[in-house]
């Protein structure tokens, strides 16, 4: 798996077992003592049928590359998969992982990586209700520096 494949985007729900098994098979031989995987699953709540996503790839790539550099500084790597378009309830839309020689670094990095993802990655979420996409504005976060044109 080359470095480019450390960020993978899919149309629709994620094939979780395929992705996580491939990561494990790839990296278990790289002498990482800790491989931590976070799998996000769409919950059935507020009458939604599922979620839908738009992604702006150029800035997602630069955000991810900056995280890769940060992880590499600790001899770790980050991995991520995300969905584009519709993902229905009880399917996965997001997987993040950290591989690190040491447990403590992996645990800390996965926390920071997932939280910064939620605040900064250029991905927009919509609820699917009655087959319509409704922007999840109340659950969205302004990107740091927002509002300079107002």
């Amino acid at each position: 798996m080359n470095k480019k494949n450390r960020l993978q985007l899919f149309d629709g729900s994620l094939p979780v077992e395929k992705i996580t098994n491939a990561w494990y098979e790839e990296y278990k031989h790289s002498n990482y003592g800790a491989i931590i995987t976070f799998v996000g699953v769409v919950r059935d709540e507020d009458g939604i049928q599922g979620l839908s996503f738009d992604i702006y790839e150029p800035i997602l790539n630069s955000w991810f590359n900056a995280w890769q550099d940060k992880a590499n500084a600790s001899n770790a790597i980050v991995l991520m998969a995300h969905s584009r378009g519709d993902v229905f309830n009880h399917e996965s839309s997001y997987i993040a992982a950290v591989c690190s020689p040491k447990r403590r670094i992996a645990l800390e990095l996965i926390d920071e990586f997932v939280e910064d993802f939620k605040q900064s990655a250029p991905i927009w979420k919509y609820d699917i209700i009655n087959n319509e996409r409704l922007y999840a504005q109340d659950r969205s976060t302004k990107i740091k520096g927002a509002g300079i044109l107002s």
Partner: protein, 73 residues
């Protein structure tokens, strides 16, 4: 011409504008009724690099992107 694109839920077609900096863009967009509720919450990227101030000059062919609040995962 500077290309201005509106990402995610803004649902607005791109604009091509004769502008020289982000301050001029701000003045144009503030007069656009469809953007009144977006400008305060949008981050701005020039050629796919996020910027933190309006003090940025623009040249022919530049791309400006407006990024509304995000929620991945």
């Amino acid at each position: 011409m500077v290309n201005v694109e509106f990402l995610g839920p803004i649902k607005k077609e791109p604009l091509q504008l004769e502008i020289n900096n982000l301050n001029e863009l701000s003045n144009v967009l503030k007069n656009d009724e469809t953007l009144i509720n977006w400008l305060e919450s949008c981050a701005v990227a020039v050629n796919d690099i996020l910027v933190s101030s309006k003090d940025v000059s623009l040249k022919d062919g530049d791309k400006v992107s407006l990024l509304p609040p995000v929620c991945g995962g």
